[in-house]
């Protein structure tokens, strides 16, 4: 009988061909793990091609999950377990595996053809020459799976489609997981295809039972995490973002109007929203990104909570529209799910290199509030905040997410709807003799007069406006005034920020690590490890990138060194240096992949003062 070992945290990396159903296996493992009460974080990583060349390293699709009974902040650095469905998956991932790690290799994926495609020399099978420090399960999954489906009326190719579930079943066994959730998923998904349903059930069980059958097997158990009390679900960033927008619309009592043009990795926001039309969500798949943002502007004029989402190249096309909407002073949420750039770049990879574009990428003096989400579940809050800010301040807001957040997932202690903040749209209800379209309140915010409201007829446009009346004006002093009024209005959003606090650390110390966006988890782990090692290190994470909180400076100046890790060539660091004249130092990774905590930790140590 196998022994069961208790673990605090584990990282598993599923890898195989893009046609191998790796993402499905990964997400099933994730959901089951979530339901088992672990904390977790995931990182799917797939090629740009729909079906990249079979068997090659370029075609490998990966899904990494880090889960544990303790708090989990990143999808893990080096994996403990590698599930390799073929030789290419093995080749790509084996260098990363932890010493002492476990490999589950589908031996059918190491035949001559696969070895050649993976780029191994003739007759060189890496399974014949296994690194000694690793443990191997060599399983002919393909064969065993076909065996399990022997009597089903399906072609071998069709049978092979469920071999990912055999592998998953085996991993479930190893990690003492229940099959329940995945079996239920099959019932829903294959309702109308009884053959396929049967095949998947059998494969999953066969994999599990295989684990039970073979000898001397070490099993593991990861206890429930001591997460704060509450109700949880697992969620990806794009899902959370979509839900945040719907929640905002409900809270503001506005209809959500979403206009988008498909682009990786933002498309899933459109897909998710399109499923919830019963919430009054109208989705519009536009002919391009320009039509998407301008249709959204039309909606904002009409009184909708208007949103458009895209990624870098699409963002480039939206910048003229952004200029218009900030001139009109209408609310609009523009989401950029960043990917590797420049140009078409690395569409399926993650990066934070569109910050400059968000802050500065428009003609004229065109300040726009910029907000960044910092984890998959946080995309919900970030979207809600962005929408609230846009509506209450009558301004476009740019919300930055990225490919890693968008597709990654984690448990989310979702809120009760009544606990969500109210959003009050400055909509004018009735006619007012003295209505002036560009009169402002104390925070510089004008009112929203909607077409259809009698007595408030007015015209807006992209030419410079006269203060208060909004009429076209070429007056020199008025122009300067309006530029300043618009800037002041944007600055005023900072008045509603919660005071800046450190995530960790003392008010003063040696190295302050300042981050934004998806780096939060990796920085958190690195800084807490540094602190555990006795170093005077702190962590500060920025939600609002424009305007920056005014209370930042004391922290920046309280530390001897400021380190800004970014998945770009140094963008936030540039802004901090300019605004605060501190000699902040960038730490850049531009590889299409998130930071590993250890990379940041190493950098922190380099910066520590030498005694």
């Amino acid at each position: 009988m196998s022994t069961v070992k208790e673990l605090q945290k584990v990282t598993i990396h599923f890898a195989g061909d893009s046609g191998d159903g790796i993402q499905l296996a990964g997400s099933q493992f994730t959901n089951t793990t979530a339901l088992a009460g672990n904390d977790l974080s995931t990182f799917p990583d797939f090629p740009a091609e729909i079906r990249a060349p079979i068997g090659t390293v370029a075609g490998v699709s990966g899904f990494q999950i880090h889960f544990g009974s303790v708090e989990i902040d990143t999808p893990g650095g080096r994996p403990d377990v590698l599930v390799a469905m073929n030789a290419a998956a093995y080749r790509k991932n084996i260098p990363n595996l932890k010493s002492g790690g476990v490999v589950i290799a589908n031996t059918a994926g190491f035949d001559k053809r696969n070895l050649r495609l993976a780029g191994y020399d003739d007759e060189e099978n890496p399974l014949d020459n296994k690194p000694e420090e690793l443990q191997f399960y060599e399983v002919d999954i393909t064969k065993l799976n076909r065996e399990a489906l022997k009597d089903l009326k399906m072609s071998p190719r069709e049978k092979d489609r469920s071999r990912n579930m055999f592998a998953l079943g085996f991993v479930y066994f190893l990690y003492s997981r229940s099959l329940e959730n995945t079996l239920q998923f099959f019932q829903d998904k294959f309702k109308s295809k009884p053959e396929v349903l049967e095949a998947n059930i059998r494969s999953l069980k066969a994999g599990y039972n295989y684990g039970d059958t073979i000898e001397a097997l070490q099993r593991y158990r990861v206890e429930k995490a001591r997460l704060p009390k509450g109700e949880y679900r697992n969620i990806t960033g794009n899902q959370a973002l979509a839900l945040g927008l719907i929640a905002a619309a409900q809270k503001a009592q506005l209809d959500l109007f979403y206009a988008g043009y498909p682009i990786t990795p933002a498309s899933d926001i459109l897909h998710e929203l399109a499923r919830h039309k019963n919430f009054g969500v109208k989705t519009f798949q536009a002919e391009d990104e320009i039509a998407a943002i301008t249709a959204a502007i039309g909606s904002a004029f009409a009184g909708g909570l208007a949103v458009t989402a895209t990624s870098g190249p699409g963002m480039a096309l939206k910048t003229e529209g952004l200029g218009l909407v900030l001139m009109l002073e209408l609310p609009l949420v523009v989401v950029n799910v960043q990917r590797g750039g420049p140009s078409t770049g690395l569409p399926t990879k993650t990066e934070q290199s569109d910050l400059f574009q968000a802050l500065y990428g428009r003609n004229g003096e065109a300040p726009v509030p910029v907000i960044a989400a910092s984890s998959p579940a946080d995309c919900f809050n970030a979207a809600l905040e962005a929408a609230k800010m846009a509506i209450e301040h009558m301004t476009p807001v740019i919300l930055l997410s990225d490919g890693y957040l968008a597709n990654g997932s984690e448990p989310w202690a979702f809120p009760k709807s009544e606990a969500l903040p109210e959003i009050s749209a400055p909509v004018m209800q009735a006619a007012d003799e003295n209505y002036l379209p560009y009169a402002r309140n104390h925070a510089g915010v004008r009112q929203w007069a909607l077409p259809g409201t009698p007595g408030l007829e007015h015209r807006v446009g992209g030419l410079e406006k006269e203060d208060r009346t909004g009429n076209v004006s070429y007056d020199p002093d008025n122009h300067q005034k309006m530029v300043e009024l618009r800037a002041a209005k944007v600055s005023a959003v900072a008045q509603n920020y919660t005071p800046t606090t450190l995530e960790q650390g003392e008010p003063e110390g040696d190295v302050l690590v300042v981050g934004w966006g998806n780096t939060k988890g990796a920085i958190k782990v690195a800084v807490s490890q540094a602190r555990a090692a006795g170093l005077a290190v702190g962590q500060l994470h920025l939600r609002n990138l424009h305007p920056l909180p005014s209370d930042l400076e004391i922290y920046l100046k309280g530390y001897r060194r400021v380190l800004v890790p970014e998945l770009n060539n140094g963008q936030l660091v540039h802004v901090l240096r300019s605004q605060f004249l501190v000699d902040a130092q960038g730490f850049d990774k531009i590889k299409g992949q998130p930071f590993l905590a250890e990379e940041i930790l190493t950098k922190i140590k380099e910066l520590m003062p030498h005694e």
Partner: protein
């Protein structure tokens, strides 16, 4: 319609902004006819919205005392789409020019037309870029001399109506700045039409392209150079002297004095797409230029399809419950 609405006059639709077109510009006349027509349409003033892009023509919304947006160059069809989908009760008018609508904005225009969003597009065609001071436009004739084509332009021009038909527009018409009555009639009809109405308005730019349409607007020449399309009536022009018949697929001008009777003639049927296509190709000088509604078709509109889908979503997915949405299908509790 309440009495209040009935009592609108043209003046109610005149905004307090000074009209800034060049003296003599054809845009004045279009504005005037619009202000004259809208009080008769039974639309509440607050439900009228004019959306434009950039160009001389696109200043139009400023002068209408309604809701309006002077947006960015070429994008008015998209802005108007978002507006209409958000509030389908509004009567939405897109005002554009041959540059705004057919050069930079050509794509939004054809997508609007195929989608058949229920709104009205007026394209002021002056065959020139007015606002940028006189470069040739996508409707300028080949070989046109302008600032940007000192040796003559090289582009074969668009035929806007043929393009609209190619994009499956459901209402395609042509009218003139200088014929108030015709213009008003077409404005009315385009308002009546459910779906995207596409109206080309020949408009004189007396500063950079004066007289382009003179052959059609000049009182003396007009009867001979244009053809007034009237539903169900034979194609007759030249003060009743000439008619048009179809010889196979080819249109032919015939003299009614020479033994042809109106019964031999092509009868205008705006529901016939092929006829509309042939009419849209009346471009060379042997044929009169058709004015009026070339084509009209009843097809579901995008906005109504969306509304149906919203209703259906309610039926299928049930009443919105935010808490249930946030919870999703697979939640668990940490106690």
């Amino acid at each position: 319609m309440s009495s209040a609405e009935n009592s609108y006059t043209a003046k109610d639709f005149s905004s307090d902004q000074e009209v800034k077109w060049c003296p003599g510009c054809g845009d004045y006349s279009i504005l005037k006819q619009m202000q004259t027509v809208v009080p008769t349409l039974g639309i509440k003033k607050e439900d009228l919205v004019f959306i434009s892009g950039i160009g001389c023509s696109s200043r139009f919304p400023y002068y209408m005392n309604t809701y309006g947006m002077h947006s960015i160059h070429g994008r008015a069809p998209a802005v108007a789409t978002g507006l209409k989908l958000t509030n389908p009760n509004l009567s939405v008018w897109v005002i554009t020019g041959d540059g705004d609508g057919l050069s930079i904005g050509g794509n939004h225009l054809i997508h609007l037309l195929r989608r058949n969003v229920d709104l009205n597009v007026l394209l002021f065609n002056n065959e020139i870029y007015g606002l940028t001071k006189g470069q040739y436009s996508p409707t300028s004739e080949f070989g046109k001399y302008t600032k940007s084509s000192p040796l003559g332009s090289l582009d074969h021009p668009f035929n806007p109506l043929a393009l609209a038909l190619g994009a499956d527009a459901t209402f395609v018409a042509r009218t003139l700045d200088r014929d108030p009555q015709h213009l008003r009639h077409i404005l009315e009809q385009s308002h009546q039409h459910q779906g995207s109405s596409f109206v080309e308005v020949y408009q004189n730019c007396n500063v950079f392209n004066d007289g382009t349409f003179e052959a059609f607007t000049d009182k003396k020449q007009r009867p001979y150079t244009t053809l007034d399309l009237k539903e169900g009536e034979p194609l007759i022009f030249a003060k009743g002297e000439k008619g048009i018949r179809l010889n196979g697929l080819k249109p032919e001008v015939v003299e009614l004095s020479e033994g042809f009777s109106p019964n031999d003639l092509w009868v205008h049927d705006s529901s016939d797409a092929t006829k509309a296509y042939i009419l849209s190709r009346f471009f060379d000088e042997s044929l009169p230029r058709p004015l009026g509604i070339l084509y009209q078709e009843k097809r579901f509109t995008y906005d109504e399809a969306l509304q149906n889908q919203m209703d259906k979503a309610h039926e299928i997915l049930g009443a919105p419950d935010l808490d249930q949405l946030l919870r999703g299908k697979n939640s668990w509790t940490v106690a």
